[in-house]
Subunit: 196 residues, 4 copies
């Protein structure tokens, strides 16, 4: 994302009060992106980009660390260690689906990873059902599953006109479907003794 994009995100934050999380893709971009974003995201393809992990570790910014689609939970936790080694412990682990032999869905969301990662670490676990399924009509049920399994958050792609989206339109919810999902997630969170 270029400087213009970052400025737009910052403006959106100002107008809405929402925090900004955005991906940083190379170590030398960390200072700039840190100026505009509240949370630095490490994408699945960069989960083992060690220079980048060190850079976001040094930045002391909160980090959203996405599991690689080819990575084990052990490798995800080892990547988190690189960030932790700089004293930066504000890390969220994100399960976003792994690659398997199944072809009906884009990835196979590893729901086991939610309780397993929480058992193995004290870090919050976030689930991305948009990438984890690749199909917009599976997003809501899998998001509900994530909260029921104990996830601390979900990332859901939303677009006002998915059919015109530049990318990932097929896995994006429309705003009203998203709003309906949030009502369901609130009910499930309550059912498992949590609040949203």
């Amino acid at each position: 994302m270029g400087l213009e994009g970052l400025k737009l995100l910052a403006e959106a934050r100002e107008q809405t009060g929402l925090l900004v999380v955005t991906e940083v893709m190379s170590p030398d971009r960390v200072p700039l992106v840190s100026t505009y974003a509240d949370i630095l995201q490490i994408g699945a393809r960069n989960m083992q980009n060690y220079d980048l992990l060190h850079a976001v570790g040094r930045s002391q910014r909160p980090v959203m660390l996405k599991r690689g689609m080819m990575s084990t939970m052990e490798e995800l936790l080892m990547s988190a260690e690189y960030i932790l080694s700089h004293g930066n412990d504000r890390i969220m682990l994100c399960e976003r689906g792994i690659r398997t032999f199944e072809t009906y869905t884009r990835n196979t969301l590893d729901i086991n990873a939610v309780p397993m990662l929480k058992k193995l670490s004290h870090l919050p676990v976030v689930v991305d059902p948009s990438h984890g399924t690749g199909k917009w009509d599976l997003v809501a049920p899998v998001a509900r599953a994530a909260v029921a399994a104990g996830a601390d958050g979900v990332i859901v792609e939303v677009h006002p006109r998915p059919e015109e989206a530049l990318s990932d339109g097929g896995q994006s919810l429309k705003p009203d479907t998203f709003a309906a999902l949030m009502v369901q997630l609130r009910a499930i969170a309550q059912a498992v003794g949590r609040t949203l």
Copy 2:
């Protein structure tokens, strides 16, 4: 399971009022097992045992068809077709975990399969978090996820003394943990507009 085992199951049914579901492993055993069991289970390893699928199809008994750990959803639905071809449509599809590169868990439970199979067929979908995780302390969160994702049932292994179980002790719940789980599942079912 031998004749003695089947008689014990039938006795348990009489005393408790519970239905009996048990696995049948070869076509020539279908008539005998059908005498004692309410539901015939096809195990994951037999999902593509076509002689057996035809035999349970002809039996007209309800069938619990488990997905093979190496089988796609498409193959699971094709196996169901073999049973359906005899006019037997009382089939439950069971997701019980697939084999992936991940090694922290015995299998990777494919939570995407719950909404996907329900979208592709009208058959009920059941989830087995005991085999799907292989770890007793992951069973409850993944069972909750299954119900939240829309599963029509869950299969949970329970044993009064798991450490003495002849098999699968490591993935079995104790009765009181199971009872607590049922309370949670009821709450989640309600949250997604269903009843237990």
Copy 3:
């Protein structure tokens, strides 16, 4: 395979002097098939059919044991142990491809398994490039690779008119292509210090 089929195989043996290897799919068929076949084949789907493994073990017939498409080498060797436990050590292990995320080929032939299985056991290792690739034009190069890696044999599907084959036509060689392959395999065998 029914009795008629077995009789035809026996007749083919008589006319050609070739040995007969054919699959046996249930324990109660072992005695009959043993009467007609020189080698009993356990198909990939039956690799963990323990009743069948015991039955072919007791038969004392040579066994071709095919690796399941989602089975580890460790599981293949454990299945061989079932047969060995009856004192039947005439077992050939057969690598025929495993299921992976790759979709351009029907299976991924695990060439590493050839030297690895030979290192872990004293059993001959055979490779099936027809199932291992699923494409007739990949069969010859992968058969050559198998011999170069140390395989003790290859299984190659041949059909005079592949386009009319009842099954697996797409992975079958025509007789003249097969003959040309045999010339190549002989040269490679010699290059690695073996004879055909």
Copy 4:
């Protein structure tokens, strides 16, 4: 690799007449590495690092493009297209093993990929049996398999004292084992109508 390392490689080239191939890991390093290396290697983890692909494409240097361990052949060919789009068609595709459920070997070398990639493109295909197996005693048989399957080259790790290697010692050959392997590869190349 730092500047000192690159200078050492260049010196080794001068003394031995061997070409230098070394990995480049970020777009801004491409000019420097191009000064010292004859061939730029894109590592498996960077196979979908599009900025890097564009940079090596623009460099007009020969490129060794390694397949990601969880990447399909289709994705490998698409990555090659990024380089080709700059008119740089001196690309070698390298199969170095994919991740599967098998645990006895570090990766599963996809031997099918050799003939399949050659069928789908006109690019040379190189095989890396060191990473593809992860075990030094499997390297020679799998290297032989690669040449027999039609590979245009192999990458083999060699170290005078593997037990002291800083990395990958367990998959490295000693010089004399490597020399013996080269004799075998020459014989196999000849057997399949090629010369080394």
